[in-house]
């Protein structure tokens, strides 16, 4: 089961660029939360702060606190531990090119030292079923490389890979932005099913997508969170003028 996320006074910098300013919000457990906004508004930086991935860039810096469940991820844990609990799906599908489909899904466990062969088989199968890829790949799990799949299949493989470590939170950074419409709809279906079990945060520049999959939506602009509310309210009756301008297509 997923856990909630509590963000307090989060600020982030890339070098001298103040990319996130005073973000405060509560992301509910076992729901999908969408983050929308024009490009460069800081929404990607925000999700990368939730599993400390932004730290892979040496010039990045963060202040404030993020609690995932009852864990303060900046004060009480190392990045490695957090990333095992907070899965991430990236903008471009990024399967490990040298690994088979099976090994791709099992990578998070194997590389972290998990070696129970039988239970691995089961986890791989379940993860692939949960990411709706099982039927398409079950015959050549160990024969085909992850890179040989189509773009949409690769992205679902990446989701399966993230699910295999049984995270509490699943972050998705524009997971469908490089995919065709059919694959996009499959991914959206998937998010819909997964949010029962996981807390999902999805970044998207596609407002319809946010409306379709998420219960809560946050609107980011210029590094600040302008509004955070139920998706219904954001899209029908936003309280901020800028949100209204954005969703009605006046800019962005």
């Amino acid at each position: 089961m997923g856990v909630g996320i509590e963000v307090t006074n989060l600020n982030a910098w890339y070098g001298a660029n103040h990319t996130l300013q005073d973000i405060n919000l509560n992301i509910p457990a076992n729901h999908a939360t969408a983050l929308i906004g024009p490009s460069g508004c800081g929404k990607s930086t925000f999700v990368r702060c939730l599993n400390r991935m932004h730290e892979t860039n040496p010039i990045a810096r963060v202040t404030g606190s993020v609690r995932i469940g009852d864990l303060d991820i900046y004060a009480e844990a190392k990045p490695v531990e957090i990333r095992r609990r907070v899965g991430m799906v990236f903008q471009r599908p990024n399967p490990f090119p040298t690994m088979s489909i099976y090994d791709n899904v099992a990578a998070g466990l194997k590389l972290n030292g998990y070696s129970n062969r039988r239970s691995l088989d089961e986890i791989v199968e379940n993860s692939l079923k949960n990411s709706a890829l099982w039927d398409e790949v079950k015959d050549d799990l160990k024969k085909k490389s992850g890179a040989s799949l189509s773009g949409g299949q690769q992205q679902r493989l990446c989701i399966a890979r993230a699910l295999a470590v049984d995270p509490e939170v699943l972050l998705m950074d524009e997971p469908a932005s490089t995919l065709d419409p059919v694959s996009t709809s499959k991914i959206e279906d998937l998010i819909f099913q997964l949010k029962v079990q996981y807390t999902i945060v999805i970044v998207t520049h596609n407002m319809q997508q946010a409306a379709r999959v998420a219960e809560k939506t946050g609107f980011f602009l210029n590094g600040r969170m302008v509004e955070f509310d139920s998706t219904h309210k954001i899209f029908t009756n936003p309280s901020d003028k800028r949100t209204e301008d954005y969703i009605t297509g006046r800019f962005g």
């Binding site: 990024n94 399967p95 490990f96 090119p97 590389l111 972290n112 890179a147 890979r161």
Partner: protein, 289 residues
């Protein structure tokens, strides 16, 4: 081009263009010619002298026909094993530092620069340094000192190719591993290095092939040996050394052996270079992007 105000000049320009084209073609022919000549001569001389005895027997005394370079082949193998044991891990480690930890830092730039400069240091100087460092304190020539000299020579090449190959691994692959909570060291070794491994391996082979033909650093470290020896504390034979000694000897039998040895070396090197070309042209990372 309907009106041409300077017909003469125009013709001159065209002529110059043609002449230069001709000259560059000529230059290419002149450059390719010695290569073809060397290869043809080597194959002609070497193939006619190459036989089973070359690979199974040790040199016979002057005047006795036959004999081979089996001990030199074994010696080279031992020297290269020592060299690889030193050069490959350190070189790969340095390359990992340059590509994964040091990107853009001043230290990495300094290391890269020094590696390139070190690559140009004459091999004979490397031999002198190892002589001073190992042979003098030990008071005798040894296989070990020769292997160390060759190993040190491998480091810059291995280091720089490893770096280049790692740089070709897309950033997204690293992110994927880190995003799964995989520790950095594990991510680097099991994901990044593994993804780039075909390129890194061929880079090592290139360095290997290069030092396999090195003679100068062995002259006063491994020294050479006319008999079987696998003792790391004794002088040891090596293929290039043997070629050198036999080439300058006045005996036709020995010349033949030297030609055969040269052919063996060249075949080894051509294989390595072709493999590197094949791997890099095919793209180290088939399918990754």
């Amino acid at each position: 081009m309907s009106t041409n105000h300077f017909p003469l000049r125009s013709r001159l320009r065209t002529l110059t263009d043609r002449a230069v084209t001709g000259l560059t073609i000529l230059a290419t022919v002149i450059v390719v010619a010695p290569l073809v000549a060397i290869f043809a001569y080597l194959v002609y001389k070497g193939a006619s002298s190459l036989n089973l005895a070359f690979f199974t027997q040790i040199p016979k005394p002057v005047g006795v026909a036959g004999g081979g370079m089996a001990n030199a082949i074994l010696g080279s193998a031992i020297l290269l094993a020592i060299a690889s044991a030193i050069g490959v891990p350190i070189g790969i480690g340095g390359g990992i530092f340059l590509a994964e930890f040091g990107r853009g830092t001043r230290l990495a730039n300094a290391v890269r620069f020094t590696a390139d400069v070190l690559n140009g240091v004459p091999s004979i100087v490397m031999g002198l340094a190892i002589y001073a460092l190992i042979v003098i304190p030990q008071k005798h020539f040894s296989a070990l000192s020769g292997g160390v000299a060759l190993g040190i020579m491998m480091i810059p090449t291995v280091c720089r190719t490893t770096e280049e190959m790692l740089m070709m691994v897309p950033h997204a692959v690293r992110e994927a591993a880190l995003g799964l909570g995989v520790p950095n060291w594990r991510s680097v070794l099991s994901i990044t290095v593994k993804t780039a491994s075909p390129g890194i391996i061929t880079g090592c082979m290139l360095a290997f092939a290069r030092v396999a033909g090195e003679t100068a650093p062995l002259l006063f470290t491994a020294l050479g040996n006319d008999f079987w020896s696998s003792n790391l504390n004794q002088p040891i034979a090596a293929l290039p050394l043997q070629i050198y000694v036999y080439a300058l000897s006045p005996y036709d039998d020995w010349h033949r052996l030297a030609w055969a040895g040269s052919l063996v070396l060249i075949v080894l090197i051509v294989l390595a270079v072709s493999l590197v070309r094949y791997v890099t042209s095919r793209g180290v990372l088939k399918g990754a992007s």
